[in-house]
């Protein structure tokens, strides 16, 4: 059942067993899983069924750190949430992403990837992608045909599956509309959790409409599923003292804000200008070998052994073919030759277009790096002094990257440069010089994957939620979504968000039984 909160008479409390705040990938997945159970589920959505600028404006906030997207454009506030503009890339995190890493602080989840795999498999269906199979060989990629630098030991081919993409709102609206036990409240803006005296239990949730009406939601369990930024915002807004949120005895809520670091990181001059490339990292492909055509996108990754040995973060490396004119050559070593004759592959290289005289277009590939960020406590969400239309304090996003991020990005490019030269594939020009933060390429940005602000850790001094996604120290408050990711990996987060929501749903059903 769907109810517009504006049509509900004053003075009526909303009551359920489980209250889920936010109807995006996580919230809708939770509600779907609870559909048909014996628990009364209340799903609150700030917006309606369509985009509405007045509601969207509730996302407005300040960027007080590195330049970041306008906070009203990098997420969507209506039924279906940010999946309404999701690109559809699906891939699980790697096993190594779940592990603590020597020399790389704050990394690791409280469980192994293998323990999440049953839910990953189920998440595939919800995200409308193929089987839980990400081995490039099973997507038509033949090792012997790969570009030589991608045959290991360091760089390997990877694939992401492409969802249609699933718009969770429209895809799952019919099921929720007909659900006997799930009630979706639209135009319901969660404003504040009210806890008991000790702060150990949430008693109710204040909800407001844009028209200024206020309601109270009572539930046995509350699940916050409002997105990587809003989850922290609502917890911080619910604290009794300024800057300290619910369950936040250690000043952790809002810290460790992570987003994948993206930039055009280099240029690859290939030995022979490609006419047909077998492996096109970043270009959408269709695999015809299965029972039905399946869409996927190849990309370049680092082998687990190299990640471990070289203490590097995870990456996605893509490329884009380009015919470059003279301007792209400005300031470069235009005469980078095959330096030594007879080194494998170099003779052809020197004859390629890379070394033609000026005025002749140069063919190569631009490399796009998507880099796992270092978990950084100084990258954080705070509450601004300004308030939005329903009286909530706005977000102040203080996004920071660490010097380690820059070093890691440069190291990855150097390693790739060594590999393309060693294998005679070509030569690489890195745009990432090792150095201080200011030397990032001007086009560097953080993407729209907002993670880490209510990070998961067994130890309450290092995490906001425990391994079950329950807020430490609060008996009945859970968090769903990418804000619980303690380590970002390089994977796009939606599949993991969905898997974690499924896992949480199973946990709640067990817990409330």
């Amino acid at each position: 059942m769907f109810i517009d909160l504006r049509a509900v008479p004053d003075g009526i409390d909303i009551t359920g067993d489980i209250c889920v705040v936010g109807a995006g990938a996580a919230g809708i997945t939770l509600a779907r899983e609870l559909d048909g159970s014996r628990f009364a589920c209340v799903l609150l959505e700030s917006g309606g069924m369509e985009f509405d600028s007045q509601t969207q404006e509730l996302y407005a906030g300040e960027n007080i750190g590195r330049p970041f997207f306008d906070l009203t454009t990098c997420r969507l506030r209506y039924f279906g949430g940010t999946t309404n503009h999701w690109s559809g890339w699906c891939m699980p995190l790697d096993s190594i992403d779940f592990q603590t890493r020597e020399g790389l602080p704050y990394r690791g989840w409280p469980f192994e990837r293998s323990s999440l795999e049953p839910w990953y498999r189920r998440a595939q269906d919800i995200c409308q992608v193929g089987p839980f199979d990400y081995a490039p060989g099973n997507w038509g990629m033949v090792q012997s045909k790969l570009p030589t630098p991608l045959r290991g030991p360091h760089f390997i081919p990877r694939i992401a599956q492409l969802s249609p993409p699933t718009r969770f709102g429209s895809a799952y609206e019919p099921a929720l509309k007909s659900s006997p036990n799930v009630t979706v409240y639209l135009q319901a803006n969660a404003c504040r959790f009210e806890t008991n005296e000790s702060g150990a239990k949430v008693q109710s949730l204040s909800v407001r409409t844009l028209s200024g009406r206020e309601f109270k939601v009572n539930a046995k369990v509350f699940v916050l599923a409002a997105g990587g930024i809003e989850n922290a915002r609502l917890l911080l807004a619910s604290g009794r003292t300024d800057g300290q949120g619910v369950g936040d005895g250690r000043d952790l809520i809002g810290r460790f804000f992570m987003t994948h670091i993206c930039c055009w990181a280099g240029w690859l001059a290939v030995m022979d200008p490609p006419t047909e490339f077998y492996f096109d990292p970043g270009y959408f492909r269709t695999y015809q070998g299965g029972s039905a055509p399946r869409s996927f996108v190849p990309y370049i990754g680092l082998s687990e052994e190299t990640l471990r040995q070289r203490r590097l973060p995870n990456i996605k490396l893509l490329w884009k073919y380009e015919v470059l004119g003279d301007t792209a050559r400005e300031g470069t070593l235009t005469d980078l030759p095959s330096i030594v004759d007879e080194v494998e592959g170099r003779r052809q290289y020197v004859d390629s277009k890379v070394f033609r005289r000026e005025g002749v277009p140069v063919m190569g590939t631009k490399l796009f790096l998507n880099l796992e960020p270092a978990p950084n406590p100084d990258s954080r969400i705070r509450l601004s002094r300004e308030r939005d239309a329903i009286g909530m304090r706005k977000v102040a996003l203080d996004w920071n990257v660490a010097a380690e991020d820059k070093r890691n990005g440069a190291a990855v490019l150097q390693l790739f440069g060594a590999e393309v030269a060693r294998t005679g594939f070509g030569r690489l020009r890195s745009f990432l010089e090792d150095g201080d933060d200011a030397t990032w390429p001007a086009d560097m940005y953080g993407d729209q994957h907002h993670m880490g602000t209510t990070r998961m850790h067994r130890d309450p001094s290092l995490g906001v939620v425990n391994a079950d996604c329950r807020v430490h120290g609060v008996a009945n408050l859970y968090v769903a979504g990418s804000s619980v990711f303690p380590t970002a990996g390089a994977a796009n987060p939606t599949l993991t968000i969905t898997a974690l929501a499924l896992r949480l749903a199973d946990h709640l059903k067990e817990e409330l039984r």
């Binding site: 030269a421 060693r422 030569r427």
Partner: protein, 135 residues
Amino acid sequence: MTGSLLLRRRWFFGAVAGGAVSMWSIALRAAPRSENAHERVRKKLISLLRDPQRAREIGAAYLRSPPEQRAPPLALAETVLVETGPAAGIEAIRRYVVARIRRELEDAQVVSLDGWIISPTEAQLCALVAADGAP
């Protein structure tokens, strides 16, 4: 013979042997070599370059990099002289240099010149041309 005495004796012989090698190495490095030996090796190295004129720009960029990030211009010639001997022919030198470049790339031991990633040996080869201005 006690264990500790045995260990000491082994250490003594080891130290003598090591010292001998070191002395030889120091002597080789310190001995004033004829200009001809250096020059011959330098010329052989430059002949490995596919296009010395175009290598000049790379060499110049390498020589502009901070001193702590580069070797002196003649360091490669010196190393090749020590490693292959003054009588080494061009093929022996080529094999040595190619193997050295490959090893550096395998180890991702690289230098960045204006962002281009090349091996230090490649950079040093180019520096030989750039250093004296004449290929």
